[in-house]
């Protein structure tokens, strides 16, 4: 089981991570950050994340700051 940490002050809502995650664990959130963009949130109730870090590698704004496994 893995986990990621998202820094929403860096996120610019390009949603590349939501289509990159092979298991679809990153979802568009209903909350907004200080820029008014809809943020993304990590939603992994079953513990499916394996910490492959593909989302972090493709995030253009380095908003996924840490990945653990």
């Amino acid at each position: 089981m893995g986990k990621i940490i998202i820094d929403n002050n860096r996120c610019k809502s390009c949603y590349i991570c939501t289509t990159t995650c092979p298991k679809g664990l990153i979802k568009k959130s209903s909350k907004t950050n200080r820029l008014g963009d809809y943020m993304v949130e990590f939603d992994d109730p079953k513990g499916e994340c394996i910490g492959c870090a593909m989302c972090a590698k493709r995030c253009p704004d380095m908003a996924i700051t840490e990945v653990y496994r």
């Binding site: 893995g2 986990k3 990621i4 940490i5 998202i6 820094d7 929403n8 002050n9 860096r10 610019k12 809502s13 390009c14 949603y15 590349i16 289509t19 990159t20 959130s29 943020m39 949130e41 990590f42 992994d44 910490g51 870090a53 593909m54 972090a56 590698k57 493709r58 995030c59 253009p60 704004d61 380095m62 996924i64 700051t65 840490e66 990945v67 653990y68 496994r69």
Partner: protein, 267 residues
């Protein structure tokens, strides 16, 4: 890899604090503290700068790096990387990098510029730096348009592409053909390494990191000029969403600008 204490705080995620987890990704140490990219959403400059920072960390050369930055969106490099930078006039990043390297041959010198800076206004300086075989490393971000000034037709604009200065698409009668930078640099005898990479998917990003490391390595080994052309997206000026822009890189750009290593004297 060492186990590290999990941080808690403002971030969204599952409850932090499980022990026994290994950190597999973190922000490179060569990035400035509390930086925030000022690029458009979905712009690949952020990934390219991260890869450069990771390679600088892995090679352990942060204290010896001097960067010569260009003009264009790529100029913001010095806001994010914790390295010494010299600002060059438009297109002359490699000319000033030559001066820095000849004055301080013990330092590692690199330039980071866009296609407008490297292949349009600065083509003479770039090509002659490669022909002289200067021991510097250069990265050219190719997004097929002039990003900072509003999406005009650039030297790498593809045939048929609509830009603000080619509203009916690029045609060979009026505008001619796009330049393939990596192949041209590979033809220069002073070049030690020339490659083209893309940042549209995770395997391509991994390849890009290897190419960037190799381009630094040929400089450290004193073999000659190291060059990497990086295909990037520009969602704002292509008038696409970030995902559509990466689809375009994957389906259209890579066909025109094939990926690969075009010259490697150390191989």
């Amino acid at each position: 890899m060492q186990q590290q204490e999990l941080k808690e705080g403002v971030n969204i995620g599952v409850n932090a604090g499980e022990k026994g987890m290994v950190q597999v990704f973190s922000i490179p140490k060569s990035m400035k503290e509390n930086f925030r990219y000022t690029f458009c959403p979905g712009c690949d400059h952020g990934i390219a700068i991260r890869l450069v920072a990771e390679v600088i960390d892995e090679l352990g050369i942060r204290e010896d790096i001097i960067s010569s930055t260009s003009v264009g969106c790529a100029v913001f490099l010095y806001d994010f990387l914790e390295v010494d930078c010299v600002e060059a006039p438009h297109g002359r990043a490699l000319a000033s990098a030559t001066g820095v390297k000849r004055a301080r041959p013990d330092k590692v010198v690199f330039t980071y510029s866009g296609d407008g800076d490297f292949a349009s206004i600065g083509l003479a300086e770039s090509m002659h730096t490669a022909l002289r075989g200067e021991k510097v490393t250069s990265f050219c971000i190719n997004n097929t348009t002039y990003g900072m000034t509003g999406g005009q037709l650039g030297p790498t604009t593809m045939m048929g592409q609509v830009t603000t200065t080619s509203p009916t698409g690029r045609n060979k009668e009026y505008f001619g053909y796009p330049i393939k930078v990596a192949e041209h640099i590979a033809l220069c005898d002073g070049t030690a390494y020339s490659a083209r990479v893309a940042l549209d998917s995770v395997p391509h990003i991994n390849e890009a990191k290897k190419a960037i490391k190799k381009a630094f390595q040929v400089q450290l080994d004193g073999l000659g000029f190291g060059f990497v052309e990086i295909l990037s997206s520009c969602p704002t000026n292509w008038h696409m969403t970030p995902e559509e822009a990466h689809e375009r890189v994957r389906n259209e750009m890579i066909k025109v600008f094939p990926l690969g290593v075009f010259k490697d004297v150390s191989a």
